[in-house]
């Protein structure tokens, strides 16, 4: 009788082989970019099979690296193909896009603040991206970057509290959770401004 971990491992290796065969056969660059995302899912599956808190702690940085890599590769692709400066000629005209963003973004941001920490930042940032994509954006980058910088300082300060005053750990956890929430949210909201403006 083989266990859960072994079963998962066999399935993961079959999937990895399939993904890399198709990646090898592919010649179009954009198809390859999409298959890269498939390979990322397989890597996350391998980590998730560990099934402890360690897996959870390893998946979060994996996701950050995945999104950063994807954004960089997408930009490189656009530059390489010479379609960086062209605007999309067909703006979507759907009524839901006009009415839904404030409600949905509000729910997502509220839920993110309740979650706090990294996941909360990602959920709240998603709400802001959705709002920016639908409504268009003209916010000040300097303000977002300042908030992000102060959040970074608060995060480091929380770690100093952990080291110097370990009995105040709950206070430090709260500071670190709030700071990483603001930081991830600020970084994610920058993605929301990518859609229309050719300069971003």
């Amino acid at each position: 009788m083989i266990g859960m971990y072994q079963t998962g491992l066999i399935a993961a290796f079959i999937c990895i082989i399939i993904a890399f065969i198709s990646l090898y056969q592919e010649t179009d660059d954009l198809h390859r970019l999409i298959l890269t995302d498939l390979a990322e899912i397989m890597a996350l599956l391998l980590i998730a099979l560990v099934a402890t808190d360690l897996a959870e702690a390893l998946i979060l940085p994996g996701l950050v690296v995945m999104i950063a890599e994807l954004m960089a590769l997408a930009e490189i692709y656009l530059v390489k193909e010479g379609i960086q400066r062209k605007k999309i000629s067909c703006p979507l005209d759907i009524e839901v896009i006009q009415t839904a963003p404030p409600i949905l973004a509000g729910i997502l941001v509220l839920y993110g603040i309740i979650l706090s920490g990294f996941s909360g930042g990602a959920v709240a940032g998603l709400g802001i991206i959705f709002y920016c994509v639908c409504k268009g954006s003209d916010e000040q980058f300097a303000l977002i970057e300042t908030a992000s910088g102060y959040a970074w300082v608060a995060w480091i300060a929380a770690f100093f509290i952990f080291l110097i005053l370990p009995e105040q750990w709950f206070f430090a956890v709260m500071i670190a959770g709030g700071a990483i929430l603001v930081k991830v949210m600020a970084k994610f909201s920058l993605i929301g401004t990518m859609s229309g403006d050719p300069n971003v």
Binding site: I14, C15, I59, M66, I67, I88, C90, G125, I129
Partner: protein, 79 residues
């Protein structure tokens, strides 16, 4: 072995094949098929009670879909 785990592995296997060899071979079909292994991974995470990873994965998958749609839209605009 929980039902979520078996279902998740099945979805990942089927989804990988459908992404590797999509039927009309264009970008959008591949992108939509990519949701199938992602959903399978969510089920596997659910069976191991990895709640934080699950929530963050949902958020990040949405962002990556947004990035792909933007690139594909720009690519299709010039053709």
């Amino acid at each position: 072995m929980t039902p979520e785990f078996i279902l998740g592995l099945g979805l990942i296997l089927l989804g990988t094949m459908s992404v590797a060899w999509p039927s009309p071979k264009d970008y959008l079909t591949r992108l939509i098929n990519l949701e199938i292994p992602a959903f399978g991974l969510l089920l596997v995470m659910l069976s191991f009670d990895e709640m934080l990873a699950l929530l963050t994965f949902i958020a990040v998958t949405t962002v990556s879909t947004f990035i792909f749609v933007r690139v594909i839209g720009k690519r299709e605009a010039i053709n």
